[in-house]
């Protein structure tokens, strides 16, 4: 979907460009532009939903600039975000402006979604009618599950089967609707009793949310998730990766399969280990002072030798791969 993003003067991303794959794992120290990358993608979504600006695109020479290119069939289109400051990016320039592909591309871009899941928000009750898409913090998780159960029972059954496979202590996902339109969910223990969402662990809630995204009947074209490993046991991370791969690399590829481009971040060496066979999916954010640059792991010429010496996560932690905090 998005082939590359070039940043100039945008927060820590002073002058850098990153090429994106169907799946992208971004690693690096705090404040190295991982979230800014996702933020840029979400701004593209927001501006794509608006009609083309009639205001002439006057690039402020000192202002931030973000340029997007796209994968086929939109390889000939470029979108450039013009910003007054890091906080105000309100102009989208489309090049070439009259290209026939823009309406279709913009429709796809408006489906982009970004997540920073919040366990406290996910555990709360939500309003039944607000479950079409999972909210950015997961706060309508209960409503999303309720709608899935009502509208696509087969997908709900699959999701439940996945939950019980991954957490065999549970045997069912239960939705409880209240007369005042509130809806809650809980997990039914295999032994007896229901654990309400408010009492589920952070990792369990995160797992349910990621699965809800995977079984979304209307998936976005691009899915951004901050720290997808948060709260998840290291031995379960393979399942998280596989769940996301299900979206980015559908089992039966083809024109009818909807591929979701994934952009996610992590600080977990254990999660990074899982990309040993696909280092092309790892993007390292290198921070030098206040500026950061993106580098693709696959571009390191000595990578095969490094992988013979140890795991990818250990190599990253050691500092050999970069993407580590500067020390005083």
């Amino acid at each position: 979907m998005i082939a590359s993003i070039a940043f100039r003067r945008f927060k820590a991303l002073r002058q850098t460009r990153v090429e994106l794959s169907p799946f992208n794992l971004v690693i690096g120290p705090n404040g190295s532009g991982k979230t800014s990358l996702i933020e840029a993608v979400l701004r593209l979504r927001t501006l794509s939903a608006l009609p083309p600006s009639e205001r002439p695109f006057a690039q402020r020479h000192e202002g931030p600039e973000i340029e997007f290119t796209f994968a086929p069939p939109w390889a000939d289109l470029t979108a450039k975000l013009g910003c007054e400051s890091d906080l105000i990016c309100d102009t989208l320039r489309r090049e070439p402006p009259a290209a026939a592909g823009w309406p279709a591309l913009c429709r796809e871009l408006t489906t982009i979604r970004g997540y920073a899941l919040d366990h406290a928000a996910m555990a709360q009750a939500s309003r039944q009618g607000e479950g079409r898409h999972l909210a950015a913090d997961g706060s309508n998780l209960a409503a999303v599950l309720a709608q899935l159960q009502a509208r696509v029972p087969a997908a709900f059954a699959e999701l439940t089967a996945e939950i019980t496979r991954l957490m065999p202590e549970f045997q069912a996902l239960e939705i409880k609707a209240w007369p005042d339109e509130r809806v809650e969910f809980g997990l039914h223990l295999a032994e007896a009793g229901v654990v309400p969402a408010a009492e589920l662990s952070q990792g369990t809630l995160a797992l349910v949310a990621v699965l809800a995204l995977a079984f979304d009947p209307e998936p976005p074209r691009i899915l951004c998730i901050e720290e997808v490993d948060r709260g998840i046991h290291p031995r379960m991370l393979r399942e998280i990766r596989d769940t996301l791969y299900r979206l980015s690399h559908p089992r039966v590829p083809g024109p009818r399969a909807r591929t979701v481009q994934i952009i996610t971040t992590t600080h977990s060496p254990y999660f990074i280990d899982l990309f040993r066979d696909h280092p092309e999916e790892v993007i390292v954010s290198q921070k030098h002072g206040r500026a950061a640059k993106f580098e693709r792991l696959i571009d390191r010429p000595d990578l095969p030798e490094l992988l013979r010496e140890g795991s990818l996560g250990d190599m990253w932690f050691s500092g050999i791969l970069g993407g580590i905090p500067e020390e005083p």
């Binding site: 393979r238 596989d242 791969y245 690399h249 066979d277 696909h278 095969p304 140890g310």
Partner: protein, 219 residues
């Protein structure tokens, strides 16, 4: 017989359970959950601690360790001569680790040490899965081609041949692994013939049933 497994993934562990049972021609008791390492060299890092834990805290008879050879030096008969140790051969390294870890342990749970059972899949466990259905995959093919400067297949190619994708989900990987090792459930001779790295595991596994070696024995 009580057996512990140290492997890289739940799929490997599931397949190894079948293969261990096939070699022993009986279903041993397995220590659950299995021990896990994050690939080489992490397996070598955790193995001493796993061995000591099993020795003192359990009545486990044997620890089965299987690693992928990747691009490392493949174990050959010449490495087995007394006192020899190849520093870049994973079989030699794991055997030495076992020897060093167990040689000074006191008796516990009625045995002098947890037995060593080491296998090395050349170049990856998917090669074992293809044994008996893809004649172009064997340890000899790998070694010969590499000696001639060729790489007969990559890890990714082996995954494609087994799973039809290089990004299999875990349940699908387990399903495929179980389907493939089913060929060897009643007879492991072909696997032992084509993959000496598996034959070494089988020899180790059968050894404790004959006689428990003394703690001072060298590999």
């Amino acid at each position: 017989m009580k057996v512990a497994l140290l492997s890289e993934s739940p799929a490997d562990e599931t397949a190894l359970r079948v293969l261990v049972g096939a070699v022993l021609k009986a279903t041993p008791r397995f220590v659950a959950p299995g021990f896990r390492a994050r690939g080489w060299p992490n397996v070598a890092q955790v193995m001493p601690a796993v061995l000591r834990h099993l020795h003192f805290n359990t009545d486990t008879d044997a620890l089965v360790v299987v690693v992928d050879a990747d691009d490392s030096v493949v174990h050959v008969a010449a490495h087995d001569r007394p006192g020899y140790y190849h520093p870049h051969c994973r079989m030699c390294q794991l055997r030495a680790l076992h020897r060093q870890t167990t040689k000074k342990l006191p008796m516990a749970h009625g045995r002098s040490r947890v037995m060593r059972v080491v296998g090395v899949a050349v170049p990856a466990i998917e090669a074992w899965y293809l044994c008996g259905r893809d004649a172009s995959v064997s340890e000899e093919v790998w070694v010969t081609d590499r000696e001639n400067g060729r790489t007969p297949y990559t890890r990714a190619e082996l995954k494609f041949r087994v799973y039809g994708t290089d990004r299999p989900s875990l349940p699908y990987e387990i399903e495929c692994a179980l389907r493939e090792v089913e060929r060897h459930r009643h007879d492991t001779r072909r696997l032992e013939h084509d993959f000496p790295g598996f034959a070494a595991l089988a020899v180790d596994l059968r050894a404790p049933r004959k006689a428990a070696p003394s703690p001072g024995r060298t590999s």
